[in-house]
Structures are given as structure tokens and as C-alpha cells.
Amino acid sequence: MRDITTNNELMATIALAALQDVEDPEIGLNIVDLGLIYQLDFDEQEKKIYCTMTLTTQFCPMGGSIRANCRHRLENAFPGFEIIVALQFHPPWNASRISAEGRKFLEG
């Protein structure tokens, strides 16, 4: 897991596997390897999942779709949980957040 904070490593692993299916449509790379996920927190008692993510640029026209897709994927991976996806732009995204796998994909 790269630059992502969480309060539950096990559930975060499942969540990140689900989020690997969400692509940035322009780049064609999934948002986990792109480094858009900042934080995943789980409240098992309240059955809530908090996902903090960013976008490559704050006014990305695809931002709404990417965020909605995240929520759908997490809802499917964690039935019965309420999913809250929030955007954060501090610190802003930069290319150093792309994972080694992501770089390999982009360089291929």
C-alpha cells in the first residue's frame, strides 16, 4: 500500500482491490496505482466507510464520474455499509504518487 493511511489494513486491502477497477478514463490507469486514494477509514460498528481521495486536477471534468464509480465499487465490495467519498486537494496530486506498477503501465 503506497501513501495511503488507514485504520484497518485488512479491510483497506479489500477496498483497494475493489478500487483497482475504477479507471481514470483519460489516462486508462486505475485510481489506486494513479495515487488518487489518500485515506480509507472503517467504522465497523456504525457500518460506515470513509474514503478520502483526490483528482489529478481539482476541476477535472471527469471528477464526478470517478467519485461516483468509487462509491459504487465500495458499495459492491462492502454490502450494507454506507460509503462516504470525500475529495481533498491538499496536498495536491502530483506524478510522484503514481505507483511502480502505474509507471510501468504508462511507460509501456
Partner: protein, 429 residues
């Protein structure tokens, strides 16, 4: 729960219904211009000041290039200035006013009748540009961010406003003497503040943000962009001063060299962004956009030759002036638009169609929403048509002009087919 209070509400992006009419209007204008080009090929063996050539030039400059740039910029300005568009109403009014004004003005040119249709058309176009410039200025002011790109697009919109006001004065000047000289003598002034002030500044402003973003480049040297901004705007002001105060022909080399220096710095900026890109595989629309920046070298070269002739007290040959205008509108600007349409429109349509359906239906990749083979065929026709028509102008060959005109018409038909195919895309159940 969320541990920090840094969360931001989702950014308000421009709705597709505000942007798509511009794309459709531009596509139909390109088709209209290509049809008129083909039926007017003989006019391109004569003098450039010709009603049909004036009409085609204005369909290309306003209906095709400006309309699509206005539409795309309503979508992209929030990305560039990092703030929402101030007013959707002003955006829509800029469309409606120009959509009515452009055909009226073009009709006036085609008939060479500077009566009420041309005058009303000109007024509506000025009001449309005013709506756009005010909307842009207020959007930038509201965003509160001082980015060099905002300065580029704001100054470009002001040069466009000046260009259209000068254009309107020229239309009036044909029937009511308002200016010191006759309208034909102001054409190069009107054309160059439009080409350099509006198109070049806007392309640099938007390109300097989008090219590194699409390439995922590590290169971020905004200092060089301020130099380009100063050189191009300074060159334009010098050009305006020399023109209005009847400067000697050799003096015009000063603004030309300043603008060329700005252009070469921009090419250097794009090259560095390309060299330091993380995304190694560059898609075809992006390649075309990069090539189109180099394409600007051709009209720049013709301009140097023209100015050299004027300095040597020779009359500038009409065919060189025509070749210059043709390379700007059908070459450089059309190449940029052909590339950027398929880099922006599929994403706008994808967002519109699939935004609420994600997770419910299998959404295709935005690149699958148009026919890539038709884009390839369109590009072959475009480059062949451009080359043949250009040679036809230089050699005054009707045959080459006709062949080039046919290929450019095929380009416009293929472009329109793909744009309509995209606009009619429905989600697969």
C-alpha cells in the same frame, strides 16, 4: 470518520448542454466552408480581396475555429483557472448571439453587400464576444488564483474583442466613412490581431496547461510562459502602434521577431514537456496537436517572405497572402481542432451519458465512442488536401485546387460523421 478538515466539495464543472451546441455548430461550419471552398476554387487564382474568399475566411475564423474554441474553453476554463465558470447564462448568450451573427455577416460578405445583415451580424458577434470576455474575467476573478494561463486566455479574449470591434468598424466604413483609410488597408491589422492576439495566445494558454497534463509531464517551468506572454503581447502592441502611425515596412520586423521568439519558446516548452513525460505512449489526437504546433512554422515562414518583399518596396503577391491565410485557418488551426475534438468531445459525451449509470451498465472507454479508422482516414485526406490546395494557390492551378478542395471536403464530411456519431451516442443496456 474523516480525520482532517481539508475536504472540498466536488468541483462544479460546466454542463455538457452548454458546450455541445458549440461543437455541432463548428462542425457544420467546417462543412459549409469546405463546400464553398470547392465551388470557389477559381477565385483562389485571383486577388485575395474577393467576396467568396472573405466569406470562407470568416466562416473558418468565426464559425469553425472561434466557435469550437469558445465551446471547448467553457469546458476547459475551470480546469485551467481552477475555478467554476461564472455564468452559464453568459455562456449560452455567447453561443446564441454568435450563432445568429455569423451567418448574417458571412451572407453580407458572400453577396458583398455591407447592408443591414452584415452590420447586424457584426454587432451580434461583438456582443457574443463581450459576453464571453465578461464571463471569463468574472470566472478568473472569482477563482482568486493567479495563474499565467489565466492571463493568456484573458488577454486572448480581449484581443478577440478588439478584433471584432475593428471588424465591425470596417463593415460600417464601407458605407459610412469612419476611418482615415479605406477598409481594405485595415485588413492586415484586423487579421493579425485576430490570428496572433486571439488564436495564438489562446492556443499557448490552453496548450501550456493541457499538454503537460495529458502527457503527465514532470516539466513545470511557468517562468518561460511569462516571457512568452510578454513577447507576444508586446509584439502585438508594437505591431498596432506601427500600423496605426504608418511605420516603415522594416519596422514591422520588430513585432514579427518578438512574436516568433515567443512562438519558439512555446515550441521549446512543449518539447521539454514531451521529453519529461511519464506517459510514454502518446495517442493520435495528442500527436496531431503536437504536430499542429510545428505546422505554425509554415505560415510564419510565408510571413517572413512577405515582409521581406514589402521591405524591398515590392508589392506583396496576392497568392502569397492567400497561401498565408489558408495555412493559418485550414492548416494550423484546423489541425489543432481535428486533434483536440477527439481528445475532448468523447469525454464530454461519456460524462453526460454514463455519469449516472456507472456501476449499473458496463461503460465503454471514451475512446470507443468514435470510429478511430474514420479519424485516420480523415487525417490522410486532410494532410493531402492541405498540401494540394496550398500548391494550387502557389502555382495558380485550378486542377490542384480542385483536387485539394475535394479532399478537404471529404475531411469535413468524415469529421462531421464522427461528431454526429458521438453526439448521438446512447448507453448500451
Amino acid at each position: 470518520m474523516f480525520p482532517s478538515g481539508n475536504h472540498t466539495d466536488p468541483a462544479k464543472t460546466t454542463p455538457a448542454k452548454l458546450v455541445l451546441p458549440f461543437y455541432l455548430y463548428a462542425a457544420l461550419s467546417f462543412l459549409t466552408a469546405a463546400i464553398l471552398l470547392l465551388i470557389s476554387v477559381k477565385d483562389f487564382t485571383g486577388h485575395f480581396f474577393n467576396p467568396h474568399i472573405l466569406a470562407i475566411t470568416h466562416i473558418m475564423a468565426l464559425g469553425w475555429c472561434t466557435m469550437i474554441i469558445l465551446g471547448a474553453s467553457h469546458q476547459l476554463v475551470p480546469v485551467i483557472i481552477e475555478g467554476s465558470l461564472y455564468s452559464p447564462v453568459l455562456a449560452m448568450s455567447s453561443f446564441v448571439l454568435s450563432a445568429i451573427g455569423i451567418p448574417l455577416l458571412v451572407y453580407g460578405f458572400y453577396q458583398f453587400n455591407m447592408g443591414w445583415p452584415a452590420k447586424l451580424g457584426g454587432i451580434l458577434i461583438v456582443l457574443a464576444v463581450l459576453s464571453y470576455a465578461v464571463n471569463l474575467g468574472l470566472s478568473i476573478s472569482k477563482s482568486g488564483k493567479e495563474a499565467v494561463q489565466s492571463s493568456f486566455i484573458l488577454s486572448a479574449s480581449l484581443w478577440l474583442l478588439i478584433t471584432t470591434i475593428v471588424g465591425l468598424l470596417l463593415v460600417y466604413n464601407f458605407t459610412i466613412p469612419l476611418l482615415q483609410r479605406n477598409s481594405v488597408e485595415y485588413l492586415s491589422f484586423h487579421a493579425h490581431i485576430g490570428i496572433v492576439g486571439w488564436f495564438l495566445l489562446l492556443v499557448i494558454g490552453v496548450g501550456s496547461r493541457l499538454i503537460p497534463m495529458f502527457l503527465i509531464s514532470k516539466y513545470q517551468q511557468y517562468g518561460i510562459l511569462w516571457w512568452i506572454f510578454g513577447l507576444v503581447n508586446g509584439g502585438l502592441l508594437a505591431f498596432a502602434g506601427f500600423f496605426l502611425y504608418n511605420g516603415a515596412a522594416y519596422l514591422f520586423f520588430i513585432p514579427l521577431l518578438m512574436i516568433l521568439a515567443g512562438l519558439f519558446l512555446f515550441i521549446y516548452y512543449c518539447y521539454q514537456a514531451y521529453r519529461e513525460r511519464i506517459r510514454k505512449k502518446v495517442d493520435d489526437p495528442m500527436k496531431l496537436s503536437l504536430v499542429s504546433i510545428l505546422l505554425l512554422a509554415l505560415p510564419a515562414l510565408v510571413m517572413i517572405v512577405l515582409l521581406g518583399m514589402l521591405t524591398g518596396m515590392q508589392q506583396a503577391p496576392s497568392k502569397l497572402v492567400m497561401a498565408y491565410g489558408f495555412l493559418v485557418f485550414f492548416g494550423w488551426l484546423t489541425a489543432i481542432i481535428l486533434g483536440m475534438t477527439f481528445k475532448t468531445l468523447p469525454f464530454i459525451i461519456w460524462n453526460k451519458v454514463y455519469h449516472r449509470l456507472l456501476g449499473k451498465v458496463k461503460a465503454p472507454n471514451p475512446r470507443e465512442l468514435f470510429n478511430d479508422k474514420i479519424v485516420q482516414a480523415m487525417l490522410y485526406c486532410f494532410f493531402a488536401g492541405l498540401g494540394l490546395f496550398f500548391m494550387g494557390i502557389l502555382w495558380e492551378s485550378v486542377l490542384l485546387l480542385r483536387l485539394g478542395g475535394i479532399l478537404l471536403l471529404v475531411t469535413a464530411i468524415l469529421y462531421n460523421w464522427n461528431v454526429l456519431y458521438l453526439l448521438n451516442h446512447k448507453a448500451q443496456s
